[in-house]
Amino acid sequence: MIKSELIQRLAERNPHLFQRDIERIVATIFDEISAALARGDRVELRGFGAFSVKRRPARTGRNPRTGAAVEVAEKCVPFFKTGKELREKLNISDDVQDAAPDDKTG
């Protein structure tokens, strides 16, 4: 599902609203979350999950092809932790046992 499909589904559930209002609502929500993370704040949505920012200190990396040392500057990365309720919902259907694993990292 992409953003336009999300807007479409919301429009079907809310026939009394204008499409452009729904577009603004969706934009506002994601913009508010982005702005909070850009301030370094956490966003906690119970049952859904929590967004936070993690700081990665500067380090000396290596170009894997040439082996040359490269300075990698300090940076911040956004992080999402799935909420308990959502994690449980993902595993509700009983065909989980048959689901083909798509990676080996465990």
């Binding site: 953003k3 301030r39 956004p78």
Partner: protein, 103 residues
Amino acid sequence: MTGKTVTRAQLSEAVYQEVGLSRNESADLVETVLQEIVESLAREETVKISSFGSFHVRSKGGRVGRNPKTGQEVPIQPRRVLVFRASHVLKDRINDELVTKAR
């Protein structure tokens, strides 16, 4: 990192300020947006929000885990996990505002 936490209340307030709906309806809509995303993910659909990021459901195979404290072996059942990948737009925005401020 600053310790402030944004919740549904602030998101609803932002929607209320931005769109001319009542506070109640704004809160309901925030909830509906989250619900639609959850339903999509529960169907194992990937959810992509441009300039924000994407949510993917991954199936993990079962394996034998170990209680790190006791060393006891515990079977871990096959399960589904959610992965969020932030878009470059979001990563850049976070770095522009946070890292430059910290220096």
